[in-house]
């Protein structure tokens, strides 16, 4: 809140600043959500929102999906923010990671090995792409983007050639199977016993992993020297180069992390959902919308965007099945109308 804003906002009503007002609104919203989640619902609310179980499940599914979207989109947004090219092959990286995870897991039997392989192989592919493709087209953002289109077409076709059109499911290890009973009462039986909500343990783990990686990325970007260089590159690439930093090395690191995260998300997502051709486009769309909504080049923005889109998608799926995509679309259009640079984006 700048000094200039003070008089106008304090004169609004009884000395409540705008920030305080927003805080109150936020607190109220949080209280309503908390009540919706933990309270036993009265009958009229069940009538409006189908049932408490459907509502809370939609929210939890939305959070899990948001975690997945965040993993995919964080790499996308970093690459975009730093290199100004849209990596339209990002969805292909996700799908390739999923296939590699499937192969490694089904051959060795170790799921964690599959996850590691998904990350490592894709990170290497990311570096290779950066060195052999993008470095050659330095400074020509449009051609870099066009090249990623070509790569995504070839990649999709070759993956179809190797893994055919079938649907795969990556087997999760036993210690991740099973359900977790959450302290959320969905209904009270007539004999007074409470029914608690159960939720797949694996999905909770996905969400936790996304949060851990998100915090890790934030720490890396904000507390380490490499992160400082990346942030400087997002703000002004030329100046970073002029101050003696090897920009190419920074680009390679970002590409490795971004592509690796896409591969990681592929394995994790392929275990929770399924792996099939066409998933690449789905996750590309998700990354696009998340980054448009959240703001280009911002990890926090990607988290906020992923949360909005994931929740919108799942809630839309439960309450207006055939118009679910429209909700996502409306969020994007409203964001563009109100804040063209995205929620956390900086105006350029």
């Amino acid at each position: 809140m700048s000094i200039l804003d003070q008089p106008s906002s304090s004169s609004l009503s009884g000395g409540v600043t705008r920030r305080q007002a927003w805080g109150l609104v936020g607190l109220l919203a949080a209280a309503i959500v908390a009540w919706l989640v933990f309270a036993v619902w009265p009958q009229w609310l069940n009538a409006i929102l189908i049932s408490k179980k459907a509502f809370v499940s939609a929210i939890l599914n939305g959070l899990t999906l948001a975690g997945l979207y965040f993993l995919v989109a964080s790499g996308f947004t970093l690459i975009f923010g730093l290199m100004r090219n849209i990596n339209l092959a990002h969805g292909s990286l996700y799908l390739l990671g999923a296939y590699i995870g499937y192969e490694v897991t089904s051959r060795t039997g170790y799921w964690l090995l599959g996850v590691a392989a998904g990350f490592a192989v894709l990170a290497i592919i990311g570096v290779v792409m950066q060195v052999f493709v993008f470095r050659r087209l330095e400074g020509d953002d449009l051609r870099q983007t066009l090249v990623t289109i070509g790569i995504s077409i070839v990649a999709a076709d070759l993956m179809l050639a190797v893994w055919a059109g079938g649907t795969y499911q990556i087997a999760t290890p036993e210690w991740l199977d099973g359900a977790l009973t959450l302290p959320i009462i969905t209904a009270v039986r007539s004999n007074g016993a409470s029914v608690f909500l159960t939720y797949p343990l694996y999905r909770v783990v996905v969400l936790a992993a996304a949060i851990v990686i998100g915090v890790g990325l934030w720490l890396m970007l904000n507390k380490t020297r490499v992160g400082m260089m990346i942030r400087a590159g997002v703000d002004d690439r030329a100046m970073l180069s002029a101050s003696g930093v090897n920009v190419h090395a920074v680009f390679a690191i970002v590409f490795a992390v971004g592509a690796g995260l896409a591969g990681f998300a592929g394995v994790v997502g392929g275990s929770a959902l399924s792996v099939a051709p066409g998933e690449d486009v789905r996750y590309l769309l998700a990354s696009l919308v998340v980054v448009i909504v959240g703001g280009m080049g911002s990890i926090t923005g990607a988290a906020i965007g992923a949360l909005l889109i994931g929740l919108a998608e799942q809630i839309g799926l439960v309450y207006f099945p055939t118009y679910g995509v429209v909700l996502t679309f409306v969020i994007m259009v409203v964001t563009l109308a109100v804040r063209p640079q995205g929620i956390m984006g900086k105006a350029r």
């Binding site: 066009l146 076709d157 055939t322």
Partner: protein, 342 residues
């Protein structure tokens, strides 16, 4: 971004041949006589289809070349016209289908396409350059998923089938020769319109906005309005192409407006070149020929790899596509270009 340049206004004393350009006349005569030598397959599947996609890519070239706005939503706009034809006209999917005559349906379909194009434009001109590509791709993908999920309007996954081209003046316009001339007529008209439009006041203003929006704004031009109007015009072209596309296929489904098709349009425009309105047509012929005959070269399945690789090579070698290659070879041949170049 490849920059299209409008030719200087022709001197007033030129005769009509100089004004139109000998290349254009030769090309037009050749295309008019083409049905004499071509089989039905080459008339519709190759020539007609190429011209439909040429007009679609032309609408992209109009936006990208003159306006600097790279759109991936052109097939979405064409799809809106195609769906409008299916919904307002008659189809045999027993969903909607108002059964209006074609001469009411077509203007409505094209108008719907143009208005939605203007809306897409209005959304996307809030951002610039590479962001436009991203937003239009998101719009195209979202529309695809929406059409696939929604049964009330789009009839879901199966879409609409049994849409017939009109029959009037005793001619079934879906027969090979009439359909070819229909496509040729539209292609020539849109090509001439874009060429003329690029030299009009509006075209000049649009190109100036592409080159320096800030200066144009300072000079008092309404930058957003000009850009949105360009989207509207491009929407008319894409809508007309969409109408022909649905008559050609006889059906429309979410697959018609899929992301792969959206990317195909961009590939056609980039392979052809965004400098001149002829580029999209050159690109369309090359890509359609490749799509049709790549099966014979690399087998039925892997032709997408071939197209992707060809696209990669073109982007790497020549940023301006085939027209750019031609522009580089031309001085070596030391002869006049066939067309009156820009």
């Amino acid at each position: 971004m490849s920059l299209a340049t409008a030719a200087d206004g022709a001197a007033p004393q030129q005769n009509w041949l100089d004004k139109i350009g000998a290349g254009h006349v030769i090309l037009a005569v050749a295309l008019l006589l083409y049905p004499l030598v071509a089989s039905d397959f080459f008339l519709t599947q190759i020539a007609g289809y190429s011209m439909i996609f040429g007009v679609l890519s032309l609408s992209l070239m109009l936006l990208a070349g003159y306006g600097g706005m790279l759109s991936l939503a052109q097939i979405t706009v064409a799809g809106i016209a195609a769906y409008a034809v299916a919904i307002l006209g008659s189809n045999n999917s027993s969903v909607l289908g108002f059964g209006w005559p074609w001469w009411i349906v077509v203007p409505f379909a094209v108008a719907a396409a143009a208005v939605s194009s203007a809306l897409i434009g209005w959304i996307s001109v809030r951002t610039e350059g590479i962001y436009t590509l991203m937003i239009t791709l998101a719009i195209a993908t979202a529309t695809f998923y929406f059409a696939q999920q929604n049964y009330a309007i789009f009839n879901g996954h199966s879409g609409y089938a049994g849409i017939h081209a009109p029959v009037f003046w005793g001619i079934n316009w879906r027969d090979p020769k009439p359909f070819y001339y229909l496509c040729l007529g539209l292609a020539m008209l849109s090509y001439a319109a874009v060429l003329y439009g690029s030299r009009s006041t509006f075209g000049m203003t649009l190109q100036a906005i592409r080159d320096n929006p800030r200066r144009m704004r300072a000079l008092g031009y309404h930058v957003t309005a000009h850009k949105v109007f360009a989207w509207f015009l491009a929407g008319i072209l894409a809508g007309l192409a969409g109408v022909l596309l649905v008559w050609f296929n006889g059906r429309v489904s979410p697959g018609t407006i899929g992301v792969d098709v959206a990317i195909d349009i961009l590939i056609i425009a980039v392979i052809g070149g965004l400098r001149h309105p002829i580029g999209p047509f050159v690109g369309a012929i090359v890509v359609i020929l490749m799509q049709t005959f790549a099966i014979d070269i690399v087998g039925a399945e892997r032709f997408n790899t071939l197209i992707g690789l060809a696209f990669l090579v073109i982007v790497f070698v020549s940023p301006d596509g085939i027209l750019g290659l031609w522009g580089r070879i031309k001085p070596h041949l030391a002869q006049e270009s066939l067309r009156a170049g820009p």
